[in-house]
């Protein structure tokens, strides 16, 4: 059995990518770095969809449609997120999450 013809290989790989992205979201304080980590998490989810599509699903078009949907949502999320980051920089002159505390009571 070849390593790239097994469902588990892709699942573990997506899991590694997800954990790395989660670490980035938790540890980084630069807003753009957090956004980059979120993209990694979305990619892990997409690998999972595609792997199940390849090895388990009854029809192979469905997973690919979902992957395209995730890509479009990620693009929209990146556009909105980056514009918010620029707005935050304009307001606070910083993009560090620890300085964006205006809503703290």
């Amino acid at each position: 059995m070849l390593v790239f013809n097994q469902l588990e290989t892709y699942l573990y790989l997506a899991l590694i990518l997800f954990a790395i992205g989660l670490y980035g979201v938790l540890a980084r304080r630069n807003l753009i770095a957090v956004l980059i980590s979120v993209e990694l998490i979305l990619n892990a989810a997409m690998i999972n969809f595609m792997a199940f599509n390849r090895f388990v699903a009854p029809h192979p078009a469905v997973g690919q449609v979902i992957a395209l949907f995730i890509m479009a949502v990620a693009a929209a999320e990146a556009a909105i997120g980056l514009s918010i980051i620029i707005a935050v920089y304009r307001k606070l002159k910083a993009i560090n999450v620890e300085q964006a505390t205006e809503l703290r009571g």
Partner: protein, 177 residues
């Protein structure tokens, strides 16, 4: 032919290429979260996404692999580069790292990783009884415009709203600095 050394058989070459793609993905992801310079983070993300596109080729989906490179590497990474240029200048020193926060993040991500790895190991994945073998791009197109037309329309609307929202939010650029 049986005596052929494994790396020189077609399967061996495919396996080596697969391992290379996996290395791209994981190393790129590590650079994307670990490097201090935000620009290196974006380059690592691009490397990782190219690796993911290679994985999609191995998963029989060249169309999605192409879209991955086009949308993620071509559009999102470039958009992030623009945001980096429009926000904090790179020559300013970043805040020093907080070791406690890093330890907490490693612990949290590690706990989730272990939990999900055990879950993956424990579960038995059963393929569907009847599996279609129709992998053509034509079928994806038909599905997108018949069964999944709602997704198609929803995505168009979402992208329109996101575009308008981004323009309204980012209007004025970096401001007077």
């Amino acid at each position: 032919m049986k005596a052929l050394f494994f790396p020189f058989t077609p399967q061996g070459v495919a396996t080596i290429a697969f391992l290379l793609v996996v290395a791209f993905t994981v190393v790129g992801a590590l650079i994307a979260v670990a490097a201090r310079n935000i620009f290196h983070n974006v380059l690592g993300l691009a490397l990782s996404l190219i690796g993911v596109a290679g994985l999609f080729l191995y998963l029989n989906s060249p169309f999605v692999a192409l879209m991955e490179i086009l949308i993620y590497v071509g559009a999102i990474c470039i958009a992030i580069c623009f945001a980096i240029m429009l926000s904090q200048p790179l020559y300013l020193p970043g805040a020093p790292r907080n070791p406690l926060k890093i330890q907490g993040a490693v612990l949290g991500a590690g706990a989730v990783f272990v939990f999900l790895a055990l879950l993956t190991k424990k579960t038995k994945w059963v393929p569907a009884a009847e599996r279609s073998t129709d992998w053509s791009i034509t079928t994806i197109g038909h599905y997108l415009l018949t069964n999944y037309v709602l997704i198609f329309e929803l995505v168009s609307l979402l992208l329109l709203v996101a575009m308008l929202g981004a323009i309204v939010n980012a209007r004025g650029g970096r401001g007077s600095s």
